[in-house]
Each structure stands twice: as structure tokens, then as C-alpha cells.
């Protein structure tokens, strides 16, 4: 293929190629820079103390709160994490999140009705976290709980 390329054509193509490379030189880092924070964060899991297991009434979810330090962007803040701890036998504990699986409102355990109630869309979850009524797509999220040295420990994503 001995196609002859004129000087004018060569120069205009070279200009386009160099120009395209420069634009890509801005656009590619710009995309990485803007979409960077959208990547899944590599958070660590850690066991955190909640309190004494004696505080948990058998058959009734009991609310515990713990504070963790979280860094988002350039801000490091203390955040409160709420965990409902539930046991049927006083030996095996499960931790339930108080965040509604529908749209993220906070649920609250209502003693006399024996359910977790979400005020946003009147959803309710049973004591074990299963959906009892309303729009939530899945049961309440759970945390692993263990007892060590007379302390309830919860496994949290820090």
C-alpha cells in the first residue's frame, strides 16, 4: 500500500492526534479523580465491646450503643452505632441492626407489641429480625456477637 500522504494531510492528522492525546490527558485523570471516591471502601472488621451480657433480657431485644471513629473523605468523626442484642437462651446472642432494610430509617423495638417498628412506612420486624409487615425487602441486618471475659463483643465494620 503505497498511498502518498500530502504534507497538509499529515500535519492536520498529527494535530488531531496530539490534540486528542492532550484532551485524553485531562479527561482520564479527571474521570479517576471524580469517580475515585465511589470505589468500595476497604473497611476493616473489628470486635468492639458493648457491655455486660447480664443486661440482655432473655427473649427481648435490648439496645446497646457504641461509638466508633470513621473517616469519610477528609473528615474523621465519632459515630454512634446501635445494636439490638437478642437471646432466646441466655447463651447464644445475635446482634440486629436498627436500620430498616427498606429505605434506611431507624427502627425501634416496641415492648407491648413485641416487634421492631419503622415509623417511615409502618413496617414491622419480628424479634428475630424477620419482616412481619410492610415494604422491607429482607430481614434486619445482623452482627456477629460473642461473649469474652464477661463482655459482649460485636463485630463491626470500621
Amino acid at each position: 500500500m503505497a498511498e502518498s500522504v500530502s504534507r497538509r494531510k499529515f500535519l492536520s492528522r498529527a494535530t488531531l492526534a496530539i490534540g486528542g492525546a492532550i484532551v485524553a490527558g485531562w479527561a482520564v485523570p479527571a474521570a479517576a479523580y471524580i469517580f475515585g471516591p465511589a470505589r468500595k471502601s476497604d473497611r476493616q472488621r473489628e470486635w468492639r465491646p458493648l457491655g455486660s451480657p447480664d443486661k440482655v433480657e432473655v427473649g427481648k431485644p435490648t439496645l446497646f450503643k457504641t461509638r466508633i471513629e470513621r473517616t469519610t473523605g477528609w473528615v474523621t468523626q465519632e459515630e454512634e452505632v446501635s445494636v439490638y442484642v437478642f437471646t432466646e437462651d441466655g447463651r447464644n446472642f445475635t446482634g440486629l441492626s436498627n436500620i430498616c432494610t427498606h429505605l434506611g430509617c431507624r427502627v425501634r423495638f416496641v415492648d407491648d407489641q413485641d416487634v421492631f417498628f419503622c415509623p417511615c412506612h409502618n413496617a414491622s420486624f419480628g424479634k428475630d429480625g424477620r419482616v412481619a409487615s410492610g415494604p422491607p425487602p429482607r430481614p434486619l441486618d445482623t452482627f456477629d456477637i460473642m461473649v469474652e471475659g464477661g463482655q459482649l463483643l460485636v463485630n463491626l465494620e470500621i
Binding site: A30, Y33, G73, W74
Partner: protein, 230 residues
């Protein structure tokens, strides 16, 4: 179909560029900007275009920096560190803006020197020259206001010293210093004002003056290097 009723489709006029040209006059604009006649010149004549390129770079990278930068005394330094150390390519974008600023001053000054040495500011290009002077002053103002924004020790003390220079102006010195700082001392107010001036006021003025400058360059054309007899 009757012959001659429809003109055969001309490949030339079917090109997308022709479609656009028919509706916008894009070809004429393209030719006026890129295919205009120029005298025999040398590489020194590219300094204006080089400055323009850096201006584009400053706009692109500057806009990107404002995505994360927060001009408050609590956040300014932290957000700059976040851009530099945590965000992917943040160091590159900030680096391009930082070094671009220096390059912009250097190239604009060299461009000005070329115009002076060639006497290119003379009739009929006086307005081009005057707008160029304004653009150079704007460049200095960009540099001065941008230098404070990282809010580190260097930025703080450079601006302390820089604004103090205004104080030596006879009679109005105190007043000018207070205007520059937005109060007695360098403070959150100074940072916020410098940010607003750097990203809104100066770019708006720059775009207007730059438009006039470039329009005149294209309309009048550039001058040839002077000859022995000139």
C-alpha cells in the same frame, strides 16, 4: 420518477460538516480562526497560543479542584491534603494547576517581551496590546489569590507579606490593606474572599478581556517581524 426532478446527491454536500455549515456557518468560522493568512514568522510567535493553552489547562484543572476543595479555615488545608494524597490522580490535577500557574506567568511575560521587541503593539494593534496588559495583570491577580488557597504556612505568610505591601501606599494604605484582607488580619474572611475572587470574579473578567484580545488578533491579523528598513 422523472429525470431531473431530484438532483443527484453530491457526496461533498452530504458530509456532516456541510450540514452543520449550512445551518451555522461553521466552515467560515473555522477558516477565519485556523486558516487565516499569516506572515512568515518564527517559534516566538507561538507564545500567545502557548499561554492560551495554559489558560485552558488552568480552567480544566481549577474546576476539577473545586470539586473537593473547601475554602474554610477548618477544611482548606485538609481538603488539599485529601486531593494530594487520597484521591486518585488528585496529585496530578493539583500539580498541573500549580505548575500551570507558574507557566502562565512566564509564558505571558515572554509573549509580552516578543510583542515589545517586534514593536507589534503599534498601530493598528493598540487595543490588542492594552487588553494584553490587562490580561497580564489578571494573571498576577490569579497567582496572588490562588497562592493563599492551600492555607498552609507558606500561603499564610506569603499573603500576610503580600497584603502588607498595600499598606505603604500613601494616605490610602490602611484602607487598601483592610480591603485586601477583609478586616485587620488575615482570617477566614480573607480566605473566603480570595477564593471567590480567584474562581468567579477573575475568570469572568479574564474570559471577557480574552475574547476581545483573540477577536482582534484574528480580525487584524498578526504583524510580521520588523525588517531592517522598518
Amino acid at each position: 420518477m422523472t429525470a431531473g426532478m431530484f438532483e443527484p446527491v453530491d457526496q461533498e454536500t452530504e458530509a456532516p460538516s456541510s450540514w452543520l455549515d449550512e445551518r451555522t456557518g461553521s466552515r467560515g468560522i473555522f477558516e477565519a480562526i485556523f486558516l487565516r493568512k499569516i506572515p512568515k514568522v518564527n517559534w516566538a510567535f507561538t507564545l500567545g497560543s502557548a499561554t492560551l493553552f495554559v489558560v485552558v489547562n488552568q480552567f480544566v484543572t481549577g474546576i476539577l479542584l473545586t470539586v473537593y476543595y473547601v475554602p474554610s479555615v477548618q477544611d482548606a488545608y485538609e481538603t488539599v491534603r485529601y486531593i494530594d494524597n487520597t484521591l486518585p490522580m488528585g496529585w496530578l490535577i493539583r500539580g498541573l494547576h500549580h505548575w500551570g500557574a507558574t507557566a502562565m506567568v512566564a509564558l505571558a511575560v515572554l509573549h509580552m517581551l516578543r510583542v515589545i521587541f517586534h514593536g507589534a503593539y503599534k498601530y493598528p494593534r493598540e487595543i490588542t496590546w492594552l487588553t494584553g496588559v490587562v490580561l497580564l495583570l489578571l494573571t498576577f491577580a490569579f497567582g496572588f489569590t490562588g497562592y493563599l488557597l492551600p492555607w498552609d504556612q507558606k500561603a499564610y505568610w506569603a499573603t500576610t507579606v503580600g497584603t502588607r505591601i498595600l499598606e505603604v501606599v500613601p494616605f490610602a494604605g490602611d484602607w487598601l490593606l483592610r480591603i485586601a484582607r477583609g478586616g485587620d488580619d488575615l482570617s477566614a474572611v480573607t480566605l473566603s474572599r480570595f477564593f471567590g475572587i480567584h474562581v468567579w470574579i477573575l475568570p469572568a473578567i479574564l474570559l471577557l478581556v480574552l475574547a476581545v484580545h483573540l477577536f482582534l488578533v484574528i480580525r487584524i491579523g498578526i504583524s510580521a517581524p520588523p525588517k531592517k528598513e522598518d
